[in-house]
């Protein structure tokens, strides 16, 4: 991997001790995740005393089979994909626009609006649920994925704008000014100068927003009926009176895998910037 080679040379030589240290931490870190996996493949009566308990040790795919048989996973997966992808693309496109406006343009109410937008991040979804529920009912949006996408996207701007704007702090203003001298208007400056140079924060917004919308539970459960995403469907596994943690673990694995893949794919953009840079150094 060329990025790796280039970067390993970053501080003169790569440091094996650092890799070992991070590796040790990482292995410590996944102990609970190993727990989830082990929980999903052992019978419930064995793991009720802890998944690490090896007095008896049986492997079984019962929980996986039960979850697969009982829940229409494929359709829910498709709904989840639709919801997450749309709710992720919206802030990926619009948050950089807003961040750019807040950061580089002069207009009235700039700060007031910025403060309001950013503070909205504290707003808990419990607060949003009931007023929007009433609104969606009036508009006939119940059981329509947009009932979930709109608030998912709307609430994401708070942190997404902050995130992109924070990276813009170190954006070379000269680049903007040069474009301005060339007669480039404020909107064109965004699309041709700022946007192509903001892939790192945009990738970060994408990863985080995808993860959060994918795992989002409250809004889908309340607003959707038949069009249920994976999390909402799997939340039903956990009963009020019984604790079938083996199936809950299966649900957790099924839902966590996708955001992880997204992370692995998108995180390349973090190193992409660096490799292009050293790559062009001929």
């Amino acid at each position: 991997m060329s990025a790796a080679r280039n970067n390993d040379a970053m501080i003169g030589k790569s440091s094996p001790w650092a890799t070992w240290l991070v590796g040790a931490v990482a292995f410590l870190w996944i102990i609970p995740i190993v727990g989830i996996i082990v929980t999903s493949i052992r019978p419930l009566n064995e793991i009720s005393l802890g998944w690490w308990n090896v007095e008896q040790f049986t492997l079984t795919l019962d929980a996986w089979r039960t979850v697969w048989d009982k829940y229409p996973l494929a359709y829910a997966f498709w709904v989840s994909v639709k919801i997450s992808v749309i709710s992720t693309l919206i802030p990926m496109i619009f948050a950089p626009m807003a961040a750019y406006a807040f950061h580089f343009l002069q207009f009235r109410f700039r700060r007031v609006m910025l403060i309001i937008v950013i503070n909205a991040f504290v707003l808990p979804s419990q607060v949003v649920v009931i007023p929007l529920f009433v609104l969606w009912r009036k508009l006939g949006l119940i059981d329509n994925i947009w009932a979930v996408i709109i608030p998912f996207a709307g609430m994401s701007f708070a942190w997404a704008v902050y995130l992109v704007k924070s990276y813009l702090d170190d954006f070379p203003r000269e680049l903007i000014e040069a474009a301005q001298v060339d007669g480039c208007g404020p909107i064109a400056r965004f699309f041709y100068i700022v946007l192509p140079n903001s892939l790192t924060p945009i990738a970060a917004v994408g990863i985080l927003q995808f993860l959060w919308t994918w795992n989002g539970l409250l809004l889908p459960v309340v607003y959707l009926r038949e069009e249920l995403p994976l999390t909402a469907l799997l939340a039903r596994i956990q009963g009020v009176y019984d604790r079938n943690w083996d199936q809950v673990a299966v649900a957790a694995i099924v839902t966590t895998v996708v955001p992880l893949i997204i992370f692995i794919v998108f995180q390349r953009y973090f190193t992409a910037g660096a490799s292009t840079r050293s790559g062009s150094k001929e």
């Binding site: 009912r137 309340v222 604790r243």
Partner: protein, 428 residues
């Protein structure tokens, strides 16, 4: 004054199996959507699904739809969201009498007296079960399942190991079992005090110390929490704690009901656990144990204070919402849940039915025993924690945690005073 009657005088289950299908006469042309707010998950959710499927099989033109509210934590939160959001539904599954009262006060429930009459439910549910859901003289629900909450669960081999040959029946006998249990490294009582389950001991003690009337008055705040009845019940519990019944306070506070049940019914690290009938499903299906053989249930010990013929129960009912659109199908489903077919499905899942149509011979020994205890009790008390209005219910559990941390006379005074303070503000 609210004449809510949570208490009900007895002769519950002795009902005769008369005209079982009295209500099925009009099972002709039901159709359309039937919408139920259904928050049951896990095994009980499966059971309800099976009941719905069976109902639809019998009434193929009915389109049964569930509204599943958000279920994290207290299901009432999700149900209120659904209702406030203006969702139309016909039926609601309810297990909290205080919540039924709240719904009635907000004009969200319809009385079902007419359903009761048209379908001859008096024959199927004895008067005590009807009284359970009566508010201000009108009946607002049909109880479809109930459970003993004064039953103490234990593994038979645990008592054997400690050389205890007979179930302790009296308070002193019960306490006398602690010493041999402790000698065998067995904690006598597993009290999961993390969230709510520690209140079970207090509640059964309260009705056996002071009777069901007193508990009802307390629930309606007609007597203060500083009443002697409350303090006496806490002092009884203090006796148990002084006899080393339990783990360290902090261990109790760290233990949730499931781990506690593991300790009593799976590993045998502790002997007794006081909890509802859902343990039967857990022990039977999850631990793979045989009810009546590996584990069983005994009634709360007799205190000899004149109220030993009482029992704590819980129940689930169906309410008819005022947003009902398909009343025919809704009432038909209510009646169906009391039918022999429905009760047979419930029995499969280890639940007891109050219906006279239920075939009690299908019950496993543990359900049978608990049903018998409930039938033998002269008066029944609904779980107190579920009768208290919102804030008080939470405060009640927190104050009992404080009691467990330091079960002294001073704490008893402080805890009851603190509860009285919150209660003063909690009732409308």
């Amino acid at each position: 004054m609210k004449s809510t009657r949570y208490r009900f005088a007895k002769t519950v289950l002795a009902g005769t199996v008369l005209s079982a299908a009295a209500g099925m006469a009009n099972a002709s042309a039901l159709s359309g959507d039937l919408v139920m707010i259904n928050w049951l998950g896990g095994a009980q959710g499966e059971m309800m699904q099976k009941l719905e499927d069976d109902f639809v099989a019998k009434n193929p033109d009915v389109n049964f739809r569930n509204i599943v509210p958000q279920a994290t934590g207290d299901a009432r939160g999700g149900i209120r969201q659904v209702i406030l959001g203006g969702e139309q539904a016909d039926l609601l599954i309810n297990t909290w009498p205080a919540f039924r009262q709240e719904l009635v006060d907000a004009d969200l429930l319809l009385p079902v007296d007419d359903v009761w009459q048209e379908n001859g439910l008096d024959e199927v549910l004895s008067g005590a079960w009807r009284d359970l859901s009566v508010i201000d003289g009108s009946n607002y629900g049909v109880t479809y399942t109930f459970g003993d909450r004064s039953g103490i669960w234990y593994r038979t081999d645990t008592l054997e190991k400690a050389g205890i040959s007979a179930e302790p029946e009296t308070w002193d006998e019960f306490k006398a079992t602690f010493a041999p249990l402790l000698e065998n490294d067995i904690t006598p009582m597993s009290v999961p005090a993390k969230v709510w389950a520690h209140a079970e001991w207090f509640e059964s003690l309260l009705i056996r110390v002071a009777g069901v009337e007193t508990a009802t008055k307390l629930a309606n705040h007609e007597i203060p929490w500083t009443d002697d009845a409350v303090k006496t019940a806490l002092r009884k519990w203090q006796e148990l704690l002084q006899a080393n019944c339990c783990d360290e306070p902090n261990t109790m506070l760290a233990t949730d009901w499931d781990n506690s049940v593991d300790a009593a019914l799976k590993t045998g690290d502790s002997a007794y656990v006081l909890m509802g009938m859902w343990l039967n499903t857990r022990a039977n299906q999850e631990y793979g144990e045989t009810p009546g053989e590996d584990y069983t249930i005994m009634q709360f010990p007799a205190l000899g204070m004149g109220h030993d013929d009482t029992s704590m129960v819980d129940a689930k009912e169906l309410n008819l919402l005022s947003t009902v659109k398909n009343k025919e199908a809704a009432t038909a489903f209510m009646v169906y849940l009391l039918s022999a077919d429905a009760t047979a499905i419930m029995t499969e899942y280890g639940l007891a039915s109050p219906s006279a149509n239920a075939d009690t011979s299908l019950y496993d020994p543990v359900i049978a025993k608990s049903v018998e205890e409930v039938s033998n009790a002269k008066s029944l008390q609904f779980v107190l924690g579920d009768l208290l209005p919102g804030d008080l219910g939470g405060e009640y559990r927190v104050q009992l945690q404080k009691f467990l941390q330091d079960p002294s006379d001073e704490t008893i005074d402080a805890v009851t005073a603190a509860l009285e303070k919150v209660a003063a503000d909690a009732y409308p």
